[in-house]
Amino acid sequence: MSAPDDVLFQPVRALGAMLRAGKVTSVELTEVSLRRLENLGPRLGALATLMRASALTEARARDAEATAGRWRGPLHGIPYGAKDLLSTKGIPTTWGAEPYREQVFDHDATVITRLREAGAVLVAKLAMVELAGGMGYNNPDASFTGPGRSPWNTAYWSGGSSSGSGAATAAGLVAFAIGSETSGSILTPATFCGLSGLRPTYGLVSRHGAMALCWTLDKLGPMCRTADDCGLVLAAMAGQDPKDPTTVASGFDYAPGPRARRPRIGVVRHATARSQPEVKAAFEQSVAVLRTFADVTDDVEFPDLPYGPAVGIIVDAEGAAAFRDLIESGRTRLLREKADRWGGYAMMMTLAADYVDAMRVRVPMRAALDDLLGRYDALVTPTRTAVAPPIGYDFDKPPQPTPPPAADAPAPPATIPAGNLAGLPALCVPNGIGRHGLPTSLQFLGRAFSEATLVDLGDRYQNATGWHLKRPPMEKVGQTPSLAAPVRTAEFAEPGRPDLYRL
């Protein structure tokens, strides 16, 4: 018995059913994952470290438990990848950055521990934009593993900063992945790679053991094939952790069930302003689908507040403090992307009073957004107004610059920085194919701790559409040259013993 090579395109829930039915084993799924990661991961710039030995050890243990009738839950035996900013005991955790390439911690991040306890099998540390983009990168080629490539078109970016988490999941190299978001780093790669991505409420998931870029904004969340999978994975990750004092006691129980009433959805005014025509058309079609099962209110005004400036100041100030030793040492010159090499010095000049004021304006922002979101189950917008940009171009110098909009033209609402500043959850799901064969995406933004509602809405949308079932053209991924460094494999005689690993 062997698993088909494309088995990891199945949703987690389906893989779990196959495991329970004895149609496949965890070792078989893990072997498929390892083989695809090794062959395709470097072509997508998605792989930091392959964890062959420890993954197979874990998979064998999960199979043994299954044989004995012990099932840990819906993630039992499922192979997954983690963004390489999550600490893993004895295995390099590089933060995507050359200065930390040999960094090894002596502990696991809480989410790694929780996913292991839930039965998931960690097969790889996945590539990411160096330091989660905290130094202000200006080009997709911003990691020592090379630029992340979208499997839908490898000439285009997979998004950042969870670039490997997006590409590896979309290409069926893993069943799901963990990403992190400070301001867009889950939603953006999920969009550019055609995935469902869930940014949880701030405080729902412990960040213990995760690289800190911005303590008051950083969040960890799942990147999966379906909204339903996001619910399953989040349930395993969430919960209070004494090692992260920002976590709350409520946790997240995912129990899909009968729906009591029609949901209420608000379409944000100017949601498609300055969008690519294909993004706009996909969004309008999505709203038409939503109307079949929800009461939809059009033209909902989004509070007009300076979200972008506040995020910029907060990330600059906290990021400068978090990486002060790196910046002051001058080792930022080892970073890959040019703007990352000098960005920290500008960040260090952020004025303290400006930072405090940015933290003060978060209070009325949170109140205004809660007041609005209290009237709806979710607000919807396109997640990004454009498909992924190409590899090789600076973000501020696109190859085909669009004409500047008229001075009085409306701007799209800044829902990503707004949601992050207020700590709100958001779910994005694929909703179409735009130019260059690249995916477009629909965002559901909800009130704090409304993840169950968002997952339910995403699930209803996906039950009515088929965009989440589309697969990228893998034959073209296989023809893409591997530009990254040779695959780095962590071999362990005994997993978790730092003294025994070799690269």
Binding site: G308, W342, A411
Partner: protein, 118 residues
Amino acid sequence: MPSARRSFLKSLAAAPLLPAALAQVAPNPPQPPSPSPPADAPSPMAESLADAARHRFGAHLQPGDLDEIRKAIHGNLQAAERLRKVTLTNADEPVTTFSAQLPGPTLREQPAPRRPRR
């Protein structure tokens, strides 16, 4: 995507605010009477802060870095100016996670120190 953060900040000078949606949004603050430099030129404040960066980190900088740093600082200062569109009073506290209580199990009450015997 923090990259968008910096390019977003660069674009702020030309980006008009939408009509105020909330009471918290105040009218534009009065502008100083001094002659204003071209829209994209770094302000004197940005020049001064860039000079401080040069004093502090000059040994680590490459040719051209300082110009980029100056522009980035200028963008940050403009961003801070945009924050002032939100009216804040003396009583408006920042969000903070600081607590006098240590994380983890609740602190046990400490016994009062004994008074020295006379």
